[in-house]
Amino acid sequence: MKTKAILVDITKCIGCRNCEQACKEAHGLPLENEPVLSATALTVVEQRGDKFVRRMCMHCQDPACASACPVGALKKTAAGPVAYDAGKCMGCRYCMLACPFQVPRYEWTKLAPYVKKCDMCAGRLEEGGLPACVQACPTGASLFGDRDDLLAEAQKRILENPAYVRHIYGSEEVGGTSVFFLSDVPFEKLGFVAAPTNHPLPTLTANALADVPTVVLLGSSLLFGLYWITDRRKQVALDEAKEKFFASHTDEKRS
């Protein structure tokens, strides 16, 4: 199975919010409208000027949240979605700190709170279905398909229509995501995070963690060496003191 993705063409979104409602139904969440992402709104349509921008998990190719999670509750699946295993989660919320797009939400009001975020309807995908939001979209602003095909489609649209900003948001951000955006207004004006870099964030920690064995080995040999010198010095000092002591005693006996 090829890895899947979602393409959102902002020029085609009319702000009907059918995707929001479909998402809530699919995930059994309360149906009232919410203005921003929350533990009960895994996707929302935000109005920016006369544009409508859908927010959701970007399903990064190399997700910061998955690398950050100490117990491996978050995982990038081969099918595309970044999946969350609530059974492993211990509620440390490091994923929320790590996410460059500030997507994961927390159930702050519950006594046994879990992390909430879009799962790209992984269950529906397994049964060969579409993500609920894509299925509910009446204008084709949200498309679902193979990641490569969607990237090619996005590229084609940009080349054919000069009105588009010449960038597919998500193609390079943090090393690439599985949710892409096309727009005819600069992305930073629509509240998109000026995605930090074009490298996956997990490499930042991977590089540091890779140094650990070397540091431990060098550090402990250095410490042991220092200890050896200290100990040796003590021994020598002790021996000298003993020698002096015995020497003085034998002198006394002779005299």
């Binding site: 509750a73 509620g91 879990y114 930090p196 920690t205 650990v212 410490l223 220092l226």
Partner: protein, 386 residues
Amino acid sequence: MPNLRFPKITLWRVLVTLIFATGLYATYARFLQGFAASTNLSDGMPWGLWVGLGTLCGVGLSAGGFAVAAAAYILGFERYRPVVRAAVLISFLGYLTVVVGMLYELGLPWRVWHPIFMWNRHSVLFEVAWCVMLYTTVLTLEFSPALLEKLPWKRAREWYLRWHRAILIELVLIGVVLSSLHQSFLGGLYLITEGKLYPLWYSSYIPSLFYLSAIPAGLAVTIMALYLSARSLNARFDLSILGEISRLMAPLLAVYALFRGVDLVTHGALPYMFRWRSETGLFWLEIALFVVVPLVLLSSEQVRNNPQWLYWTCALVVMGFIANRLNVSVTGLQASAGVHYVPKWTEMASTIAILTAAVLAFRYAVLYLNIFPQPKERWMMKAATD
């Protein structure tokens, strides 16, 4: 029957009672009402005071134990011997506060054991979790003789103490490696916040910065605790040791200042140091408290040789250290998150109650265990050398 009398009401006792009463309420709020009722945490600020003060400062300020133990046992600074036990005790209690605090922080604290069986070796927090577990064990073992030497069974006691002497050096070595890793990893947690953490604090060298700042801060806490023990708990040891430790602190602070300065300049944070923003003010507050004022004070012989002056200098270092950790964990993330976080009073109350418990434990340990060299022992040592 003086024991049955109602305890005398003093200012300190009233204060401690108040702290524990509010702490108890905060604990009730956290565990029976949840995060929303007990904290001002939000999706934009998922880590607040409990992580910033409880964990980052708790661990950082506990660095004195490994530093003093390493100086005494590995580098051969024999003069430090009389205070090693006190330094280890401070670290031990410090780590206990971190472990207890972690139960408040975690959304599902009953799963605190998960990292033992569910591994993700790409996660810095996973490594942090293991460092906490392993180093707390090492500290328990390092400190254990102080408790077990009070055992009434002579043979068990002597067997344990002999075993402990045999593994002591290995324990100290492992402890130094583990806590060095742990201090650095805490900084490493923020490597992944590139683009979110304000440039005055984000650095790809943040693990080293955390490590370099923790050692002088840990020593400062040790000096403060030693001074208070001598002043109020009647601990008898040569106070000139404080000056000696401070002589180590000044160069450590200078090294940190140099490293931090070069780091700020090389990654282009220089212009941020002079922008008209609240981050700038908090940055300079941190630099002034942690580096500039203490270095000026410590360069004076008079300050180093006066325990009281030294105590207040160390207090500045500790405050500067706390400012730094809170800047990294709260201030530096607010702009990108678009939230303004002020901890709820219950967050403060629980943290303060845990810290107070640790301070009380230290007090009782000094009063009832042999944390400092005992007068009798000294007399016996004298007799033996005569």
